[in-house]
Symmetry: C2
Subunit: 353 residues, 2 copies
């Protein structure tokens, strides 16, 4: 956790040359979005990507559509119930490809290792990369390893880039949600973030919960077979939780989203941990579920397809895309009232992935 | 610099679970090779890449050949004469693609930033990424940004992944060198490494030299147009210098290599800096030159093509591939004697790229 610079929080565009990077700039929430939109993308000039920012980019190579995604993993602790930084690095990148309806073809893996890091731990992380890659059915085709001095990194960081091939007849995009779309969620939320935080803070909830890290490309394959182009948008609610994922889709698609709070599947240990920590489960990171925006006449078929897969066995409909309040996510509470669900501002759970 | 574990140096396979990662494991030399061969690749099992380890991998996507390369940049200092970490991250990855005769189609860029890093410096690095990407003619299509707490990283690390398209009629490979091949070098060696070290140690040589960082794909394009499949192998001598690059080709191709020491272009300030620092220029990192292994009957044409480009204006023939001493690189010295040129063991210049 970090103390937020109130100026930066209320006015996210960095202005002064004396400003410094905050933990919140890596949160996946509003500060991250401001850093990307106001600093990193404009710096690229003509080399910047066109269109909305997606989890993965589609690249034309000789007429083919190759999908590319990259992610740096800095999770702390490195090992946790349900997986470790290696598992996360493979599954997270596979899932970013899957959110563009791409099946993974190849992975590139880079390690930044701190001098003095136990070789046994590096071996364990590398074994997890191998196990997760085999489980997802994707080869690791190239890599890089850099070592920095003691204190210049924290153990090991793993950076994975995925190359994928798009499923025929599918083109989900963050900008694709349409009024009337059903909002579907593939399973329980909050497990990854509360597991990490519980281990880090020694809260003991990790006895009852574990990270939900898993690859989602087979689930997406099933959904696209059932719904085709009616699957308008897909997002995995990682950093910033489901609130940020929904907020990003609302912003990119220029639509409003209404969510039924009672429909959100929050496991009891996640609920208990969030109560103690003062967190909203909607802001907690996930690593093994997705939200889908599906044309209403196809929603039941896609939901049934999701439930046919182990990764989507707990899939539910959580809301609807509105023709009003563009860019906003509104929650209908258990009490029947409505409140706006904000994207995370700043950093709630640093180094969650 | 680090004190090498003598056991690890003489017997690079890590054996004990109490062993720790050394700076030398990231040097690009023998310890790096041992870490990759004995730890990282075996951990992948069936998910490991087949064939020799290359700077970039060729991936089949719907029959197309897509080339992929990833590199983590951790150079210190971040800014230096001739460029910065952003310039290096773009050019280095473009060059890894080029060594497989691939022209860059897209880049993915990930940043790992330390909390408290000046936003002005991040803006400067991001601007260099943009400038270098535009100069190379390649778009940045996707990215990621993570922030870690103070002391958990050193300023900023930049991890770039490149996607490339192979030039038709070219298939250079680290395993492709053949006895009789001419060994060509595109220009002066030692500039990048001595510049970084001079800045870091305050030696003052950086007044006379600057990093040679530059993209080499246009040079490779010209070479392949001139020599086609006669261009058997390409390597950019980065970490570990030209000694490691030649040693890797000798090992992967199962051939010997003889180099004429007098033919190696070493600029006077590089020579002076290496004398003072006790370095062999052949072990010093470069970021803007390449070695090529070309069938003898095509060597003159390829050399002329290289000299027609600004990046290859100083190209020279430095040696020949032998039918003897497989895996070894032999240097014919100015005195007429011969010595074996070893790959770097351990770490000579940590965080050079």
């Amino acid at each position: 956790m970090t103390t937020l610079d109130p100026l930066a929080a209320s006015c996210p565009a960095p202005r002064s040359e004396t400003e410094r990077v905050l933990l919140g700039h890596g949160s996946g929430g509003q500060l991250s979005a401001a850093l990307i939109s106001n600093v990193l993308v404009p710096a690229l000039g003509a080399a910047a990507p066109p269109g909305p920012l997606e989890d993965a980019a589609v690249v034309a190579v000789d007429g083919d559509h190759v999908v590319v995604s990259t992610d740096a993993y800095v999770v702390s602790p490195l090992f946790f119930p349900g997986g470790d930084i290696g598992t996360l690095a493979v599954n997270g990148t596979v899932n970013d490809l899957a959110m563009r309806a791409a099946m993974p073809v190849a992975l590139a893996v880079a390690y930044v290792v701190e001098e003095g890091f136990p070789l046994a731990d590096l071996r364990r992380v590398a074994a997890s990369v191998g196990t997760a890659a085999r489980a997802a059915g994707v080869p690791v085709v190239t890599g890089d390893t850099k070592v920095v001095g003691r204190g210049a990194a924290d153990g090991v960081f793993v950076i994975t880039t995925g190359i994928g091939r798009r499923l025929p007849g599918a083109a989900p995009s963050a900008a694709g949600a349409e009024p009337g779309d059903a909002v579907l969620l593939s399973g329980a939320i909050g497990r990854h973030g509360t597991t990490i935080l519980s281990v880090r803070e020694g809260l003991g909830f990790e006895v009852d919960i574990s990270s939900d890290t898993q690859p989602l490309h087979r689930l997406v394959d099933t959904m696209v077979r059932a719904g085709g182009t009616a699957v308008h948008a897909l997002r995995d609610p990682t950093r910033g939780g489901i609130a940020s994922a929904l907020g990003e889709i609302a912003a990119a698609s220029g639509v409003g989203i209404e969510i039924d709070e009672r429909a959100l599947p929050v496991p009891a240990p996640v609920h208990a941990a969030c109560e103690i920590l003062g967190l909203d489960p909607a802001h907690v990171a996930n690593e093994g579920c997705l939200v889908a925006f599906v044309a209403p006449q196809w929603a039941d078929a896609v939901l049934a397809a999701m439930r046919s897969q182990p990764e989507g066995a707990g899939a539910v409909r959580i809301g609807t895309v509105l023709d009003a309040v563009p860019g906003q996510v509104v929650v209908r509470t258990a009490m029947g009232s409505r409140r706006v669900l904000d994207m995370l501002v700043g950093e709630q759970l640093p180094r969650i992935c």
